[in-house]
């Protein structure tokens, strides 16, 4: 028991060596045509994964068993910390979250190894080899600069506790989900590198890659949504997105991942966009790498902490240069060999997906620019600039509104031929219904403030309705309904719901900050909030107060809300927990402010229409992605017997 940290450390070293073997045999085996080397890849992969899981289990055990002789445990746990947060504390700071990243990579790698039995051996060896390189780099980084198993001598009597902000169920789950998404893009990356090493990329390749990419994207979507939801109820001032560098770090790979999913569809169905798909695979993972480092080096310091510890900074940079630089150099060398042998017309589905990709990449570029440009200009001494919501909101909407409009139309375009006119009637009909819905919502239900809201409601409603046209058509004609279609429909509808709910929240939120004495009531957005006083509360490692707020409408009581303020003992920090009542069409949100004396307290009260649908839409998108990922087509895809390199003539995508 007492040797667990040393055991974990030793397991990490073994994992590093085995990952090195996995990388070497995986890359060198096919390159030199050594059958026995290729056969050694799977055992090396399995061994490395077992060692990684062992190390992780040792760290978990040290947390669960209150081993404050381990520096990392002493810094991030405490004897009063409940079990669930002692486990979540494993990824509560930099060192442990790196280890979590490595464990999740091992999980994806094992899944790929199981799926690889359908792939040609030289190809699967290369995929596992690339994953081995990634794993090796992260293990080396952990051991060299961020070892979570270092001892603290003498041992601490008690730990300095997990950051209270992280003591929350949603935030305990947020990093594993987010990282599963990030790391999942490593699989698409490895497939891309393997294809470039092979010098061959065909439609089968895209069919292999699609489900992995969809699954990674779905995890990332849920991870981001969970973080956003947490910010809403925990931070105490409402809202769901702040364009914070950390949020942006996860959003950029999401945007590029979304582009990749669509580009892969074209490569799969039509054998086009090959080099573009490869490039997106590389960029999605590169941004994940960047994001991982940005997120866990501490929240807003993230971007700065690139240099927070020069040794870490140099290592990160070197790793990025090797991985990303190497991949892009390989791309510059190999991508020109990949010819596409088909053309397409302007109003064909290929065109729409091309626009989709361009707009998504522009959106990601604006976020990238806003996130990194200030740091870059500061670094170069070009003077400084500072960006915030004022920059992000308009520049992000610019590519997004046309994207959503094009999605409604593009779904109905045929592959290759531009016969959109044939689908004109349902498009116009759904457009008109959407316009009626938008007008009714803006002028009837919410009563005013048209402009951008009207346009966004129209686009959102049109997307929802337009997504349903094809599935209804299939049902009516008794055609089969593959999971890929179900998933796509669901995800597109969810995007429409997302647009509608974000529009409603941004346009029609009512908010008041009030000072109230016991028994006083305030009206906000048609609801009456009555403040019924304050009670003491006691948690395991905190105490505090909560307010009792009775909500009623037209004299009928609806709910009792208990917004809290907690003071955590060890770090002496005060955290808020908002009181939220979710009605079908809106959230009633109350956050407790400060004690104004004489029994008066300040309250922040908000009525936010449709805000729950923002996260619900994100979950539906992820559900759509995972349904599509489970389509039979992907499970039965086998390699064709032969495929000549660079076959065919004609236009390149």
């Amino acid at each position: 028991m007492e040797m667990l940290p040393e055991l974990g450390h030793f397991a990490l070293v073994l994992a590093l060596l085995l990952a090195g073997l996995q990388a070497f045999f995986g890359i060198a085996g096919p390159a030199f045509g050594r059958q026995r080397w290729m056969s050694a890849v799977i055992p090396a992969t399995a061994g490395s994964a077992v060692m990684v899981v062992t190390a992780f289990a040792c760290l978990v055990a040290s947390f669960v068993g209150f081993d404050f002789s381990v520096a990392y445990v002493a810094q991030n746990s405490n004897s009063a910390l409940p079990l669930i947060y002692r486990i979540a504390a494993v990824w509560g700071a930099h060192e442990g979250s790196l280890l979590l990243w490595i464990v999740l990579l091992a999980g994806w790698t094992i899944a790929v190894a199981f799926g690889a039995s359908r792939l040609p051996q030289h190809f699967s060896a290369r995929v596992l080899g690339v994953l081995g390189i990634v794993s090796f780099g992260f293990l080396l980084f952990t051991l060299a600069t961020s070892n979570p198993f270092l001892r603290l001598i003498p041992a601490a009597v008690d730990g300095s506790d997990l950051n209270p902000l992280l003591q929350d169920p949603a935030l305990a789950l947020h990093p594993p989900l987010l990282y599963t998404g990030y790391v999942g893009f490593a699989v698409a990356f490895a497939f891309a590198i393997a294809a470039m090493l092979e010098g061959k990329l065909d439609q089968t390749w895209a069919r292999w890659t699609r489900p992995w990419t969809l699954a990674a994207w779905a995890f990332l979507t849920v991870g981001i949504a969970l973080g956003s939801w947490w910010a809403y109820y925990e931070l105490g001032w409402g809202g769901y997105w702040f364009w914070d560098p950390v949020e942006n770090a996860s959003f950029m790979p999401w945007l590029i991942g979304t582009a990749l999913i669509h580009s892969l569809a074209v490569t799969d169905k039509r054998g086009l966009f090959k080099s573009w798909t490869l490039l997106l695979s590389i960029i999605a993972f590169s941004l994940s790498l960047l994001g991982t480092f940005l997120v866990r080096s501490g929240v807003l310091v993230s971007v700065h902490s690139f240099a927070a510890d020069p040794a870490r900074g140099i290592f990160i940079l070197a790793f990025l240069v090797i991985m990303v630089g190497g991949a892009l150099a390989l791309y510059a060398w190999r991508a020109p060999l990949l010819k596409s042998d088909a053309g397409f017309e302007l109003t064909s589905r290929e065109s729409f997906l091309l626009f989709n990709n361009i707009l998504l990449v522009i959106a990601a570029a604006t976020v990238f620019g806003g996130t990194l440009a200030p740091l870059i200009s500061d670094t170069l001494g070009l003077g400084t600039l500072s960006v915030g919501t004022q920059y992000f909101n308009p520049t992000f909407l610019l590519p997004m509104l046309p994207l959503i409009a094009l999605a409604s139309v593009g779904m109905h375009a045929n592959w290759k031929r531009g016969r959109l006119a044939a689908r004109g009637r349902p498009l116009i009909a759904t457009g008109l219904i959407a316009l009626a819905v938008a007008l009714a919502a803006v002028f009837g239900y919410y009563g005013g403030r048209p402009g951008l809201a009207l346009a966004s409601f129209l686009l959102g409603a049109w997307l929802v309705l337009s997504s349903l046209v094809d599935p209804f058509d299939r049902l009516r004609r008794r055609l089969s309904m593959p999971r890929a279609i179900v998933g796509m429909t669901l995800a597109h509808m969810a995007l429409g719901v997302f647009v509608i709910s974000v529009t409603a929240v941004e346009t029609y939120t009512t908010e008041r900050d009030v000072a109230v004495a016991q028994g006083e009531s305030v009206e906000v957005g048609g609801y009456t909030f009555r403040f019924d006083g304050i009670d003491d509360i006691h948690g395991p490692n905190y105490d505090g107060v909560h307010a009792i707020v009775q909500v009623s409408r037209d004299g009928k009581p609806l709910a009792t809300l208990h917004p809290e303020k907690r003071r955590y003992f060890v770090q002496q920090s005060v955290m808020t927990e908002a009181g939220i009542e979710s009605q079908p069409g809106r959230d009633l949100f109350v956050a407790l402010g400060e004690d104004l004396g004489a029994g008066r307290w300040s309250l922040r009260i908000q009525v936010r229409p449709l805000i729950n649908y923002v996260w619900l839409a994100a979950l539906l998108m992820a559900l759509g992605g995972s349904i599509a990922a489970s389509d039979r087509r992907y499970r039965t895809a086998r390699a064709p017997a032969t495929e000549p390199v660079g076959a065919g003539q004609g236009s390149t995508a």
């Binding site: 950051n163 807003l300 990025l320 900050d513 005060v574």
Partner: protein, 174 residues
Amino acid sequence: MNRFLLPLAAFVLLAIVLGVGIRNSDTKGVVASPLVGRPAPQFVLPNLLDPDTPFDSRTMAGRWYALNVWGTWCIECRVEHAALVAAKAAGQLPIIGLNWKDDPTSAVAWLAQLGDPYEATAVDAEGRVAIDYGVYGAPETFLIDPQGIIVHKHIGPLSAEIWERDFIARAVSR
């Protein structure tokens, strides 16, 4: 040039920028700001807790002080707040708050709730002063000498240790 080389070229540029950034960082690992060694930009802004008397940075001339950029929307500001309150209690170096792009009601609530470490808090609602100071994200803290020269810039949350090493030690030793 081969268009397939463009992504690599773009990445090389980015890597160079990041590399220069790391090289510029001194041994303590702080991104060197071009503003260090230059006069601190002067400003007059509304005073958060005393709306009748605007805060004028020139009144700080002749004293060492720290300028701490914060906002209630900033998670890391919450993390460093206890260290600031402790620094105020120690009383060695006055701290001026720059409340950046924030909602004044929330800011007042925050100070009442978590303690007020600031001698005065200037309200930079539109972020103009923060732009002059090259603020990238909150929290950032500047150490300014009696001649009004920026001596040090700290990015990210302060701790008691950093405060002692980078602020108190510098202000006392000179």
